[in-house]
């Protein structure tokens, strides 16, 4: 079966890959272009750990046909930090012990970024809603919710807008 060429911007960098018919974006990110930050949890859309942004919108990369990102922008957790400086959400996750095994963390961070980009002053309900497609079996969500609210509070003074 012929491979199809796909070009997209990954965290600001141009990437090109040859994809198979029916191949999902998560597979192309992890095996094709070597970004291991989005994780494979279920392949069913139910765990959210593969969440990425496509043109700023949260999408499940395991359910995204890879060839459909041709010409689009993809953001993963690898694109959040600014060099050695963590993104405010990453900082807050560390301060609040919002990761234990850390498997759900990339998806949680991206879901949170999608929320704060659209709504920098979310309520607790907004945060719960924003991560409602992401499953964590370790922290029990409270620490994660607090971290996201804290990042939003910290940023309403200054830095969130970055990244």
């Amino acid at each position: 079966m012929a491979k199809k060429p796909v070009q997209f911007r990954l965290n600001g960098d141009e990437k090109a890959a040859f994809v198979d018919d029916g191949q999902n974006l998560l597979d192309v990110l992890r095996r094709g272009v070597g970004d291991l930050t989005p994780k494979y949890g279920c392949g069913q859309g139910t765990c959210g750990t593969c969440t990425v942004l496509i043109d700023g919108e949260p999408r499940l990369s395991c359910l995204t046909l890879a060839e459909t990102v041709d010409g689009h922008a993809v953001t993963t957790v690898a694109g959040l930090a600014d060099g050695a400086t963590l993104h405010p959400l990453q900082d807050a996750f560390m301060c609040h012990f919002a990761a234990q095994c850390g498997y759900c963390t990339p998806g949680m961070l991206i879901a949170a970024k999608a929320l704060l980009d659209r709504n920098p002053r979310p309520t607790r309900e907004d945060v719960v809603e924003a991560i409602s497609g992401n499953i964590c079996r370790c922290t029990g969500y409270e620490a994660i919710i607090n971290a996201i609210l804290d990042a939003a509070n910290a940023a309403s003074g200054s830095s969130y807008a970055r990244g």
């Binding site: 999902n24 499940l60 395991c62 359910l63 046909l65 879901a111 497609g133």
Partner: protein
């Protein structure tokens, strides 16, 4: 089994390609089709895509709103004229599902999914097909859904709702805030003395179904306690609910009338 993906710019060409291969599926948001591929056991060998902008249009047409089949739940939530459908769209999956899941794909979603379709059934929507497929009422579409699999839905024509209280929707879940529906209920309230009230259930039959006996009990349009109780007592007539991981058929039969009564009395 490997899957072929064919992409067409025009809807008519895509409709021709789909009609020519019974093992092909039209690909929209992919939230259900990619699941099947990831399970490595799809019942199809070809995916047909179309990039035609007609699939994305939302426009007014007389007393109806025409919604392109590839409009996502997020796009529906963002559109002012479709505000009455926003609570339905908002209940479908988490944010990352809603940015991919389309209204056209929802028409073919299997139990326990299909909230948007349930709402469209209560509203009396019309399904329009690409190519020479014409259009059918959603009631006819759902009663013969497998027959329409070989055609591409181009758009859904939804009657406009000017009085927001005339349309009511309830998704009953065990897992908050987002879980698959145990049942969902959509009601289009008729005008007192004239218009018929339409009641649709999801997960009470293999496809979204109208509760015709309950509707009959509300003829005349009055929603007083006595008529509503009579309608609720008939809610499960003709229903054959599934037993699945969420609930038994017995449980669904028990709770459906209770929730319907609350929806009709505005006590949700």
């Amino acid at each position: 089994m490997p899957v072929r993906v064919e992409t067409y710019a025009g809807l008519d060409e895509a409709a021709g390609a789909l009609a020519a291969n019974s093992a092909a599926r039209f690909f929209a948001g992919g939230t259900l089709l990619m699941r099947a591929i990831n399970e490595a056991n799809p019942s199809f060998d070809t995916l047909i895509r179309a990039t035609d902008p007609a699939l994305k249009e939302i426009r007014l047409e007389g007393d109806a709103i025409v919604v392109g089949a590839a409009c996502t739940m997020n796009e529906i939530m963002a559109h002012r004229e479709l505000a009455f459908l926003a609570p339905v769209a908002r209940g479908i999956g988490g944010p990352a599902v809603r940015s991919a899941a389309t209204i056209g794909g929802n028409l073919f979603a299997w139990s326990p999914f299909g909230e948007m379709t349930t709402a469209l059934l209560a509203l009396g929507a019309t399904i329009r097909f690409a190519g020479h497929g014409g259009q059918v009422a959603i009631d006819e579409f759902l009663s013969n859904r497998d027959r329409y699999r070989g055609q591409i839905v181009r758009s859904v024509s939804v009657p406009r709702i000017s009085d927001p209280s005339a349309f009511r929707f309830l998704k009953v879940t065990r897992v908050k805030p987002k879980g698959a529906a145990l049942i969902s209920i959509a009601v289009r309230i008729g005008r007192p003395g004239s218009g018929e009230t339409r009641i649709a259930f999801n997960n009470m039959n293999p496809v979204p179904t109208r509760a015709l006996a309950a509707e009959q009990a509300l003829q005349g349009g009055s929603l007083d306690e006595a008529s509503v109780s009579r309608a609720a007592s008939l809610a499960t007539d003709g229903m054959n609910p599934p037993t699945d991981a969420l609930a038994s058929d017995w449980y669904r039969r028990e709770v459906a009338p209770v929730h319907l009564k609350r929806v009709l009395l505005g006590r949700t």
